[in-house]
């Protein structure tokens, strides 16, 4: 009896192993044919014909995985001798840094124009693309933004800006109509809107602070407007501190929290997006990248965006917009890989390809002549066209300065009942301390 059972177990394990190995062999064959995301090394090796070049496209966003895959499929159809695989994973920034330590740089990197880019660029692993013909295809204003995050601000294109984003207030048009409110242009109007929404029994804000990065957008909207314009440079030089310049930012930040849904600290970005799409609240302070997530849940949602009204002087309020995706090429690959990677960028910059990308992502294009016409972002499209934009302030903070956790802590303090004045001073003190720690190399 006992023996029988054991043999049965052994047999099952052997059978499972056998069938799995067989299954795996079959699948790697089909992977090679269909060029699905999980292309396998063995499959590639088997099918390697003369001159096939393999590229890895590493994306730091998970939201654009589908459209990038489509882009890759289109590219490979035109260039059958180039094989591109997509890597898109959660917490990609940390993974990318791990790979930098291993000197295992993907051939093409699609990432934001932020401190992670600075780190890659300063490590000297990116190819200088300044001399390429396609540099002239993108708007100079966005190229400047990329130059700005080069470690010594040199005017060299190590990354080609591709898509830009807009961060502000996302709102549910139906709920606004139901409460009879208009899009606010100033901070006072904003306060009125919130009061009226509440009177109408509508939760004003859906916040998703369980994911710490979502604590950043309100700050990113206010920080470029409220303090002096020179703040980032002065702070780097050490002549000013967050304390004394950002008090109003934190004060308004805390005010918003008063009108958020219950348990906003425990709501994750994915759960919050789904709830917002189903009308749980009227506004969400985040960026255009969330829109595709809403529409996945509720395709009929009427959503739009407006610039966060940080102050009462309407002319000062801006949409926060930065380079959401830039394309960079590793200089660690072979010459063929570098050429193929440039070819991929050339393909991506084609107006029709760039258009389909921004249509899918509700993003804005850095490519000349490609415009976002979708209704859902019409509220900010005009501001962006008129240049009423500021870049993300956190793109200028030193890498390693983790503002999102400080803000998450600030929100947690609020929930725990800490007095606002105390919270403001504690938050800003901790900003200054952490900034100094990160700024000293």
């Amino acid at each position: 009896m006992m023996k029988g059972k054991k043999f049965l177990a052994l047999g099952l394990v052997v059978a499972m192993t056998g069938s799995m190995i067989a299954g795996c062999g079959g699948s790697s064959g089909s992977n090679g044919d269909s060029n699905s995301a999980g292309g396998t090394e063995t499959a590639a090796k088997d099918e390697k014909q003369g001159g096939e070049v393999e590229l890895e496209l590493f994306s730091t966003k998970t939201e654009n995985a589908d459209i990038l895959q489509k882009m890759i499929d289109g590219f490979m159809e035109e260039n059958p001798d180039i094989k591109v695989t997509l890597t898109s994973e959660s917490d990609a920034a940390t993974v990318l840094k791990t790979r930098l330590t291993k000197n295992d740089i993907p051939e093409i990197v699609a990432m934001g124009g932020d401190s992670n880019y600075t780190e890659l660029q300063s490590a000297g692993v990116l190819l200088d693309l300044s001399g390429e013909d396609f540099v002239s295809d993108v708007q100079e204003a966005y190229l400047d933004m990329v130059y700005d995050v080069n470690v010594d601000k040199e005017q060299t294109a190590y990354g080609i800006p591709y898509a830009t984003n807009a961060s502000g207030v996302l709102y549910n048009e139906d709920l606004f109509a139901q409460a009879g409110v208009e899009v606010p242009k100033t901070w006072s109007e904003f306060q009125d809107v919130v009061a009226k929404l509440q009177e109408a029994g509508i939760t004003p804000f859906e916040l998703t602070f369980a994911d710490s990065w979502t604590c950043l957008p309100p700050w990113n909207s206010m920080a470029p407007v409220i303090p002096d314009a020179n703040f980032t440079d002065d702070r780097k030089a050490g002549s000013v501190t967050f304390a004394g310049t950002h008090d109003e930012v934190v004060e308004k930040y805390l005010w918003i929290l008063d009108y958020a849904q219950e348990d906003f600290m425990g709501t994750t970005y994915t759960d919050g997006n789904a709830a917002f799409a189903n009308g749980s609240a009227a506004m969400m302070i985040n960026g255009n990248w969330a829109i595709s997530e809403f529409l996945n849940t509720n395709p009929d949602m009427n959503v739009n965006m407006f610039a966060f009204p940080s102050v009462d002087d309407e002319s000062k309020n801006t949409v926060t917009s930065g380079v959401d995706v830039l394309l960079a090429v590793s200089n660690q690959g072979t010459d063929e890989q570098q050429e193929a990677a440039k070819e991929f960028i050339r393909y991506a910059l084609k107006p029709e390809v760039a258009q389909s990308y921004i249509d899918d992502q509700f993003a804005f294009s850095a490519v000349n002549g490609v415009e976002q016409t979708n209704e859902t972002v019409s509220g900010v499209a005009k501001d962006i066209a008129n240049g009423k934009v500021s870049n993300f302030p956190d793109h200028y903070y030193p890498n390693g300065f983790d503002l999102s956790t400080i803000l998450q802590q600030c929100a947690l303090n609020k929930v725990n009942g800490m007095d606002n004045a105390e919270n403001i001073s504690e938050t800003l003190t901790s900003c200054d301390e952490q900034y100094d720690v990160a700024n000293v190399e």
């Binding site: 917490d91 920034a93 940390t94 840094k97 791990t98 930098l100 330590t101 000197n103 401190s115 780190e119 490590a123 000297g124 602070f209 369980a210 710490s212 219950e262 348990d263 906003f264 600290m265 425990g266 709501t267 994750t268 759960d271 030193p398 890498n399 390693g400 956790t405 400080i406 998450q408 802590q409 600030c410 929100a411 947690l412 929930v415 725990n416 901790s430 301390e433 952490q434 720690v437 990160a438 190399e441």
Partner: protein
């Protein structure tokens, strides 16, 4: 009698290749880590010696200090709770019960499952199921996602206990089964029952198992990583950032490679000190009680 025997060369061949590999892939990286902790290396590019700068910096860095305090707090609570609860469970399983083997197998199941997946499942339970139950019952403290509060670490603690109890219970149970039942009868005649019997007779006999469990679980909890990455990612704020999480999150980023190497070396020293301390104290106790 103690004549020096020549040791057959084959014995060297049995162990030396493994020892060499172990040195190259375990000891060498360890020594490299110690070496880097005295430099300003970024993980790539040039580097300079900076002496003890990284170490001095650690003691001024709030992030590191709070990670150490949190990890210690977590490890102490988890070690105590896991061992107490496992001991209780083991005693219950050792009682005269029906289906003992089945129950034993069921309670050991969590050990088999990966921490990462368990954490994802519990993360869902904490953020969606528990608040729904809390709201239905009208209990305010249960209607929020605990992982988004100051008490986030308790959520992680629950998962850690859930999983770690499996192994510890089994060890205690096997210890309890070595205790001869005649001893209990003798004790009963002396009037020792219940708690008194446990403290006076049972516990001293299973003390060695207690030592093993305390040391092993203490060391594991000091290095807790998977459950935190999966459930809170160190948040909210930095409330649940353990040392391991900190080293992973910061070690590969901006100029902190060498700095976090110093942090890792410090972690090593802490783990060794605590383990040695535990062994000393527990062994002394064992001697005393037996």
């Amino acid at each position: 009698m103690k004549q020096k025997k020549r040791i057959n060369m084959v014995f060297y061949l049995m162990v030396v290749p493994m020892a060499v590999l172990f040195f190259c892939f375990h000891t060498l990286p360890f020594l490299q880590g110690v070496f880097y902790s005295f430099t300003d290396w970024k993980g790539y590019g040039d580097w300079n010696f900076v002496g003890l700068r990284n170490y001095l910096h650690i003691f001024k860095d709030k992030n590191v200090i709070s990670a150490y305090l949190f990890t210690l707090q977590f490890a102490v609570c988890a070690t105590i709770l896991v061992n107490v609860l496992s001991l209780v469970l083991a005693c219950a399983l050792n009682a005269k019960i029906k289906c003992r083997n089945f129950l034993k197998a069921v309670f050991f199941l969590p050990y088999m499952l990966g921490t990462l997946i368990i954490s994802y499942v519990f993360k869902y339970i904490f953020s969606n199921v528990v608040p729904a139950i809390g709201k239905a019952l009208g209990i305010a403290s249960l209607s929020v996602n605990i992982l988004g509060t100051n008490h986030a670490w308790i959520g992680v603690l629950v998962v850690t206990i859930w999983q770690s109890m499996a192994f510890n219970t089994l060890i205690y149970l096997s210890g309890l089964q070595t205790v001869d039942r005649d001893l209990y009868e003798a004790a009963a005649l002396d009037g020792a029952t219940g708690m008194k019997r446990f403290l006076k007779i049972t516990f001293p006999l299973i003390a060695p198992f207690f030592t093993i469990n305390m040391v092993l679980s203490g060391k594991n909890f000091l290095m807790a990583f998977d459950q935190f990455i999966a459930m809170t990612n160190g948040g909210p704020g930095t409330a649940t950032t353990t040392i391991s999480v900190l080293i992973y999150k910061k070690g590969f980023s901006g100029g902190q490679f060498a700095y976090q190497s110093a942090n890792a070396v410090l972690l090593f020293i802490v783990v060794v000190l605590i383990s040695v301390f535990q062994l000393r104290v527990l062994e002394k106790r064992e001697e005393k009680v037996s």
